[in-house]
Symmetry: C2
Subunit: 443 residues, 2 copies
């Protein structure tokens, strides 16, 4: 594959946005991760085999045999009206009770929702605020839009409101056009933390005070282990919050069905943007989701998923606590798919990766979750896909790799044992990413 | 719905590209067209009910029941490797025998392919050359990318090479950055014409001489009524031609499966762009297409579609010839879905539309197919979806509307009877669109 620009005869013809595109850390891992001997704590693939595949199969088969004239045909750009109604029911579970189907746009996964919102709002050079770390797919979208990402620090309670306010003030002082805050309030990817109730209120108030648009990306909201779903930001503010949802984690990612809930004027722009991008979302997959919600016990299925992920989370946290060398810290997710781990002082997750692969364990290095190349000492561990035993084995291998690395560096005296809580008065721009010393102790 | 900017509190926050987006002529018709009493010659919906729905339904049901771990899971951004192999077999039917699956990117319909190629190449202000008229969905993509579209005239043999060369020279003189030529060589949407064999050669030679990138958009290539598929431009030049294909017209548009064939360096950019846009195309729909190609008699099905569309084309052309008032001309498609009709001198298809709808017939006014608001005297008639009897009834109604309009205008002496063949020496920029006096005579 010609990678060197001089080997690409079209190299001088690409758009400016194309030059910034680069392969994600996650994709670079794909070939490694698929080897059977490797325990992958890298991918974020849901456990779809826990679905009732026979029932779903015959349901979809009947949709085609019985309703082929609709399911195999073009549909509306905004998405199937029946599905949009059911989406409003789903959002009601998180306190969004005033959404109308006319404000919903069905998308090809919430990834497309992210892309559409960004295209509608962001000009090159505009600033987007995002947690540090942030979802890698969102960073890819912002990069393709030539936005400047400014990270706002988090801690165990999620995004820090004071840090957000400071970022807003600094952007204002610098004359930056802040287009929106992008935030994942529940079971954050990759940080594994959740925005606390008081902070939700604080952030909505800040949005009001600073006239800030908020993109609330919420694919994991129904996957809490210990509690009812938390009330969405959108449930508190229907004018400044644009909400992104997805069936990837509650049903199936292979259908690629997500949605955006936005005020009507924005909704109209989003529909025009999606029509230019894909004409309309696939009809079959939309009908499949609507029918699934209508006829299958989908809430029980979500509970089933939650039990399964809880068990895997427990396996991960227990073995981390039992095996990780001192100085290693990590977050303690109470929902979702991810643990965010900080290596002992001096270690670099990306540099360590070849050794981890040799030891047959894979993770995603933290730098992929920052727009500015920071995050070297972090990694994301996903517990969603492997069985508990594999998770334990993976953590065991990882612990050995880290220990060997520490031996190599012989820097035990440099081990970082302090408080990791990010401080809003820190260095402007990107402040320290989320970690947790609370849960980092050897149990 | 707040349409007035002052009613949209976010009006000052949209990206520059968003301001240019507007509802397409086709979508504006949707509500009208769906009324049962209206004969719609407007939409381009394929006749999917001619598919063996039971067989396709059980095939897809089995894919989910038996292979849910793959079909309901995330897949690769580039698309399923098995499907990409089968896509290469399909392209071989049009003379593309050297394509490798690694050069193929699966897309959410060829619409997404168009969008991806445009995103990878086009900066705001760049020039895109396109036939006049051109596919409305492509114009929407170019507009969203803030490209400047320069139309190149066509005639009954498709794009006119001399006019293309003239456009290239003029752009060169003006210092414009021409990013590519966008062309639909087969059974053009909306013009209904096909690029002749000698012109294919001429255009490939021009591309070589002027170092011009060509986007060959070919959803209808296998739907020729009277002959074997023509040899693709891509079959003649694998370095300067990027090829877009689709299963929307040969199988099902509701699955939204299309593809791009591009040199490896470009392919790499396209994969990064699609990952930022949708992560990956839906797995289920890709497996459905691959399995369909593997196990169903899909070539016979394409023949069946072709017979059906030929019959409808015949119904359209026969009734047009029998009923249209003098001065009305139209193209004579030998494949695909569309007839491009020119009204008698002085009539305006868009202004006439309310009267047509009152008379219960719908079409798409020609102006939607030009980037510059020209094309008032044209309309697109689609014969793909209605039954032959409906088509005849629709043409009858349309003829009456045109006649009434002519009476109203009392401009019979101004009727245009001359030669409509577009001339390359015409006015720079947009020269006269394709029409056909050859087939316009009252039969
Ligand atoms: C935070 C977040 N947003 C969006 C997505 C995209 O999900 P999808 O496009 O499958 O709906 C993901 C997937 O991992 C995610 O973690
Ligand atoms: C010329 C042309 N290109 C592309 C498309 C988009 O097709 P799809 O996205 O369904 O593959 C169409 C659909 O009508 C078309 O006519």
């Amino acid at each position: 594959m010609p990678r060197h620009p001089r080997l690409d005869p079209l190299a001088d013809r690409y758009a400016a946005r194309t030059h910034g595109m680069k392969t994600s850390e996650i994709r670079a891992l794909f070939s490694v991760v698929s080897r059977p001997e490797v325990v992958s704590l890298a991918g974020g693939m849901p456990a779809v085999t826990a679905l009732p595949l026979d029932a779903v199969g015959s349901m979809i088969g009947e949709l085609v045999s019985g309703m082929g004239a609709q399911t195999l045909q073009y549909g509306s750009g905004q998405g199937d009206p029946r599905l949009r109604e059911r989406i409003c029911d789903v959002m009601a579970l998180e306190g969004i009770t005033d959404a109308s189907p006319s404000e919903v746009v069905v998308t090809v996964g919430s990834q497309q929702g992210l892309d559409l919102v960004t295209r509608v709002f962001v000009d090159p050079g505009d600033v987007v605020l995002a947690e540090g770390p942030s979802y890698v797919g969102a960073l890819g979208v912002f990069q393709a839009a030539q936005a400047r990402v400014r990270h706002v620090p988090m801690d165990d309670d999620g995004l820090i409101p004071e840090a957000l306010e400071q970022a807003l003030l600094e952007c204002r002082a610098a004359g930056d056009r802040v287009k929106f805050l992008y935030t994942v309030p529940n079971y954050h990817n990759p940080a594994g933390v959740t925005l606390s109730e008081p902070r939700r209120q604080a952030i909505v108030e800040l949005a009001d005070r600073y006239d800030l648009l908020v993109i609330e990306d919420n694919p994991y909201g129904l996957l809490g282990f210990d509690r009812e779903p938390m009330r969405a930001l959108r449930a508190r503010d229907d004018r400044r919050v644009i909400y992104l949802g997805s069936f990837s984690k509650t049903f199936s990612p292979g259908l690629r069905v997500g949605w955006v809930l936005a005020p009507l004027a924005v909704r109209e722009k989003l529909v025009l943007a999606t029509e230019a991008q894909v004409l309309c979302p696939p009809s079959l997959t939309q009908y499949a989701v609507a029918r699934y919600l209508d006829t299958q016990p989908w809430r029980e299925q979500v509970k089933h998923f939650v039990e399964l992920y809880r068990e895997r989370r427990d396996a991960a946290l227990e073995s981390l606590a039992a095996l990780m060398p001192p100085g290693t810290t990590w977050t303690r997710p109470d929902g979702g798919f991810y643990v965010w781990l900080k290596l002992p002082h001096g270690l670099d997750a990306k540099l360590m990766q070849p050794r981890a692969v040799t030891a047959h364990v894979a993770y995603v290095p933290g730098i992929g979750f920052y727009a500015d190349g920071s995050g070297q000492e972090f990694m994301r561990l996903s517990y969603c896909y492997p069985e508990p035993d594999q998770i334990r084995e993976g953590v065991r291998r990882l612990a050995r790799v880290i220990e060997a690395e520490l031996d190599l560096h012989s820097t035990f005296d440099g081990v970082d044992t302090g408080t990791f809580r990010a401080v809003s008065g820190g260095q402007p721009g990107i402040v320290g990413p989320a970690t947790s010393d609370r849960y980092g102790d050897r149990a």
